[in-house]
């Protein structure tokens, strides 16, 4: 297997995600790490809450990884996504891609995070001092 998909309530471990994709044939690893920002559109965020349709989220992430492996000369992909309540500075997502040459790693990693945000059934609620909102739910 050259993909590792993890969906977890536990804090994500960046080092172990990167370690998983490292391989002797790879010369470059690109890693995207999402973090919880303290502000959104000028408003202070207290924390985020992530909810997933677990089984489908995992299968959609697997599909993305399979597609990336077909599309670019890359060797290993790890996608780790967190669920539950996350404070500012915590890490909801890590995507690591290892390839013999770095261009493919960069391109695939960017494709994975861009597409994950569009297709994987995971939802984020922003919690402010004066209320909360499911991100992107309404126009």
């Amino acid at each position: 297997m050259n993909t590792q998909i993890i969906l977890s309530h536990q804090p994500l471990n960046i080092q172990s995600c990167i370690d998983w994709v490292m391989a002797p044939g790879c010369g470059g690893i690109d890693v995207f790490i999402g973090t919880v920002r303290d502000m959104t559109k000028g408003k202070r965020v207290l924390r985020l809450e992530f909810e997933a349709y677990d089984k489908m989220a995992i299968s959609e992430m697997q599909k993305l990884a399979d597609q990336a492996l077909l599309q670019w000369p890359i060797q290993r992909i790890a996608i780790h996504h967190r669920t539950g309540v996350l404070e500012v500075g915590e890490v909801p997502v890590i995507i690591a891609v290892a390839a013999a040459h770095r261009d493919a790693a960069f391109d695939a990693c960017r494709f994975l995070i861009d597409t994950l945000k569009k297709t994987v059934p995971i939802w984020k609620k922003e919690i402010f001092e004066d209320g909360e909102v499911w991100v992107s739910a309404t126009p």
């Binding site: 909810e51 909801p92 995070i113 945000k117 297709t119 994987v120 939802w123 739910a137």
Partner: protein
């Protein structure tokens, strides 16, 4: 048939539950289910968009439904 519908994110708020059941004709499709849901829960029409998933796959508009299908409403996703 009786279809059980899973809800996530804002849809859970709209349904007031993480799962509901609706009565559908035996030859119901995803399109027909959407019409029924929008009648019962008009706030669905205020979403930026939403899709149905059947058995963990995004479903086409006129996919026939079976009683044993796992059906979910997928409001706009915002992971990552």
């Amino acid at each position: 048939m009786t279809a059980s519908i899973l809800a996530f994110g804002i849809t859970k708020d709209i349904f007031g539950a993480s799962s509901i059941t609706v009565e559908l004709p035996a030859d119901a499709t995803t399109g027909g289910l959407k019409t029924v849901l929008e009648e019962q829960y008009p706030r669905l029409k205020q979403l930026a968009s939403y899709l149905l998933a059947v058995n963990n796959e995004y479903a086409a508009d006129e996919l026939p439904l079976n009683e044993r299908d796992e059906i979910a409403v997928i409001p706009p996703v915002s992971g990552g």
